[in-house]
Amino acid sequence: MKLTIIHPAVYVIYYLLLVILAFLYNDPYYMISFLICVSALIMLQGISREFKNVIQFFIPMSLLIIILNPLVAQVGTTRIYVLGSYFITLEALVYGILMSLSLLIILLLFASYNRAVSYQEMLYLFSKRFPHISMIIVMALRFIPLLSYRLTEVNKISRFNQENQGNQKTESRVDKIKKTAQMLAVVVSWSLEESMLTAKSMKARGYGIMKRTSYLSYKLRKIDYLFILVISATTLICTMGLANGFGRIEIYPTLHFSVHESMFNPYYFSFLFLLLPLIYLEFKERLIWH
């Protein structure tokens, strides 16, 4: 079970902030620090399945970004000739690589977010203003395993009928689609029929006669205020830094980046400080529970 450390709304704001920052920074130092911190966070949260999904999604996307950027943007000044007079620019290539790094960070951020905030918490935030919509979402989440079970049963019956009614000819792809759709149709009509009983049961338990309340309730605690304070202060400094060009390198028209430029300035530290609080909290939880 997940341990809720801070208020879900604070989580949402924090992660949103990080996603925007991931778009804004393009200095490799910042990006790599970012990546390391997010990876550390994910490892502390103990993500395995999500991580695999992220990588599966990331590889083709990043390849596309790296290839497409130079192909479509020929704005840079440093030309690399590929075929005769056709050239791509170094700047666009670097831009693509940095952007795919951004993409990776963002994907990991979302993976971490999905781990940090349960859907009940998200719905809690949502349900005050959209009670009916959140009810639909809750029900849909309940119906998916039920329908999936029904589909396996229908699938069994369908295979059985096929074997016992003698048409065991080899199937074309169209036949397969046909069969699948017919199975889906059985599940659909069956489930729609039964779902009307669900509606009755909801009405019988008084759904919709007054404004709904929630079993869950989150109050902002001291730690939340502290958290908000830390992230707003550091975000402010980071923004100032960004405005002055710290954390961003110039790519177009000419790549301008020197390896020896000193990283150690207050802006960089405040950026690190922005990334750390959640890692610290998760780390503390780990120490307590293991």
Partner: protein, 213 residues
């Protein structure tokens, strides 16, 4: 990414979220019947079942088909809400991301337009197939916006580049839609209409279901 581009992306996303939330508000205000809520929940669950890779049926992306069918039979409001909620619930299942918003817009509009052209689509099977085929591409184009975010400049060439790269997938999506809509429109229409006529439209419908014990 420079501030101006980022700013306009953020504005664009806020507008998209705003539009979706506005529709949600309208839906909330319309005081939907409980049957309607359960119906949408089932439809969402079915479209997700049709698009989960782990589901018992492999290979067929049935979500778009279900959403178009929903729009045609139950109208634009139900179509839109079903379309919008499908990726959201899918996201809660498999993990949310910024692309979820684009999928919501894509599928939402698919359901909405199917509802708008309800009458015509119901009459003409060729129109229906064409509609499904075209939406294979529209949907791809909308979700491709998530790629454009990472390109240095949004120009005609960059947009074209991304769209050419995704064309094979969109084509498959479109063809699947068209085939499903040609072959199974009647079957699903019958099933959906039965529910619509008995439980959603006419209050009389409830009578019969209680009659059976």
């Amino acid at each position: 990414m420079d501030y101006l581009t980022l700013g306009s992306w953020i504005v664009a996303f806020i507008v998209m979220i705003g539009v979706i939330l506005a529709f949600f508000r309208i839906f909330e205000k319309s005081k939907p019947r409980v049957e309607h809520l359960v119906l949408i929940a089932i439809l969402v669950a079915i479209s997700i079942l049709g698009s989960l890779p782990t589901a018992a049926i492999p290979g067929v992306q049935a979500a778009s088909f279900i959403i178009i069918m929903t729009g045609i039979v139950f109208g634009r409001e139900t179509g839109f809400i079903t379309g919008v909620l499908t990726p959201l619930v899918l996201g809660l299942f498999l993990g949310l991301g910024y692309w979820t918003i684009l999928q919501m817009i894509g599928w939402g509009l698919m359901g909405l337009t199917a509802g708008i052209f309800q009458v015509k689509l119901e009459e003409n099977r060729y129109l229906r197939a064409g509609f499904g085929f075209a939406w294979g591409f529209f949907y791809g184009w909308i979700t491709n916006i998530s790629m454009l975010l990472f390109l240095s400049s949004v120009t005609l060439t960059s947009v074209l580049g991304v769209y050419i790269a995704s064309a094979p997938f969109d084509l498959l999506h479109g063809v699947t839609n068209a085939v499903l809509l040609i072959l199974f429109f009647g079957l699903f229409e019958r099933i959906f209409k039965r529910i619509r006529d008995r439980y959603i439209n006419s209050p009389d419908g409830e009578a019969k279901s209680l009659n059976k014990q």
